[in-house]
């Protein structure tokens, strides 16, 4: 009997300790949630929550999006500064994958692989994924890059110290250091346009409507409809970045 009683009290003690420990742990961890999840999904579904869709099946690789983006946002014309660019993927019959992006696709593409060696080939436009758990936002030491309440990752040019941490943190390679301003620069989802009710420059000029800008909160909106009608994937889902750039017909070869 006594033996039993000791066991019982030990069990109770462990239970109480576990509960107290759990409470303590959540109490300590909770404030850091803001760091772990740099921003959360919007609580107000009546406001826009911007997302983006790209239909790889429709893209013809004309590079007008990359060109328009450079014009709209004064991106340096050198062939290694891009806010958006297009890649040509060629998967050969022997399984090797060839990826090229001469000047981001602005001057067009040439398929040098002979037709009978190609298993499949497609164009993949790339740009900032406007992640809602952005690695870049978490990496910024000064709060110069942030996620707006409407789900766009922006850079505060006057506050950025040009430390390049975010350039390294972005798994999609979507950031660069502006050579004149010496601060980081990236796709703003044409924030100056979408806040005035216009669409982004890349969506405006895309001749095949392969690019879709939309509000993920608008359940009848164009983007939500696109996502319902197609099997959409995001890039590098295993990184849990909360990407809001959805691709239709995304092949496993695309990195």
């Amino acid at each position: 009997m006594g033996h039993n009683r000791v066991n019982q009290s030990r069990r109770n003690f462990i239970k109480a300790a576990a509960a107290a420990g759990g409470l303590l742990a959540t109490g300590i961890v909770n404030p850091f949630n803001a760091v772990i999840f740099a921003s959360e999904q919007p609580t107000d579904p009546t406001k826009p929550w911007w997302g983006y869709g790209i239909d790889i099946e429709k893209c013809i690789g004309c590079g007008r999006c990359a060109n328009a983006c450079k014009t709209e946002n004064n991106v340096p014309r050198e062939p290694f500064y891009f806010r958006t660019w297009v890649e040509q993927y060629t998967i050969k019959n022997d399984g090797t994958v060839q990826v090229e992006s001469p000047n981001g696709g602005i001057d067009g593409f040439e398929q040098i692989v002979p037709d009978d060696e190609i298993f499949k080939s497609f164009f993949v436009p790339k740009m900032c994924n406007h992640c809602h758990k952005s690695p870049c936002v978490q990496a910024c030491p000064v709060g110069a890059t942030y996620d707006t309440p409407d789900g766009v990752v922006l850079v505060d040019e006057s506050y950025c110290i040009g430390c390049r941490y975010c350039v390294q943190a972005c798994p999609y390679g979507c950031r660069y250091i502006h050579p004149e301003k010496n601060v980081v620069d990236k796709c703003t989802l044409c924030y100056h346009r979408i806040s005035k009710g216009k669409t982004t420059a890349c969506v405006e000029v895309c001749p095949t409507h392969a690019r879709i800008l939309g509000d993920l909160n608008d359940k009848d909106g164009e983007l939500v409809k696109f996502m319902k009608n197609h099997t959409c994937l995001v890039l590098k889902p295993h990184l849990n970045t909360g990407s809001k750039l959805y691709y239709n017909a995304l092949s496993g070869e695309v990195r």
Partner: protein
């Protein structure tokens, strides 16, 4: 009150005031209003100048061209895809003219034969398809299947 506190309390008070003054000077206005960033930066980003207008803007004056284009294969294309950014022209029509690209290479950006897009749109080989002529000499770019020669 113990005598130690009498010296320590003013000292601490000075430190706290100094910290608050320093923080006020260092932390920019509107920082932290919505998160760990300067809230005014959102406004600054939203105020950048536009370069591209949009098709609705073109349609305000050039409805004839827009209607013409909607009747052929180039329906759905934005004017600025070929003619370039037009917001300055939209604001002051006389101040700037838009591009009228006439090089074969420009049309080739979409229509040069490429394995990737062969089944999606009309494809030609720029080297073989009337190499001595400009595309727009035969094809009206607004009505590409309206061939003049």
């Amino acid at each position: 009150m113990p005598p130690q506190l009498k010296t320590l309390i003013p000292l601490f008070a000075i430190f706290i005031v100094l910290f608050l003054v320093g923080r006020h000077l260092v932390v920019p206005e509107s920082f932290g209003e919505a998160g760990h960033y300067r809230f005014n930066s959102i406004v600054e980003n939203a105020e950048k100048p536009l370069q591209y207008a949009d098709k609705d803007a073109c349609n305000e004056c050039h409805e004839d061209y827009v209607m013409e284009m909607e009747s052929d294969m180039h329906a759905g294309l934005s004017c600025e895809t070929c003619h370039g950014p037009g917001f300055a022209h939209y604001e002051e029509p006389d101040s700037s003219r838009l591009l009228v690209p006439d090089q074969r290479e420009f049309c080739g950006l979409c229509h040069q034969r490429n394995f990737n897009r062969e089944k999606k749109l009309a494809q030609i080989d720029l080297k073989e398809h009337y190499p001595e002529k400009k595309c727009i000499e035969c094809h009206n770019p607004h009505l590409p299947w309206d061939i003049t020669e």
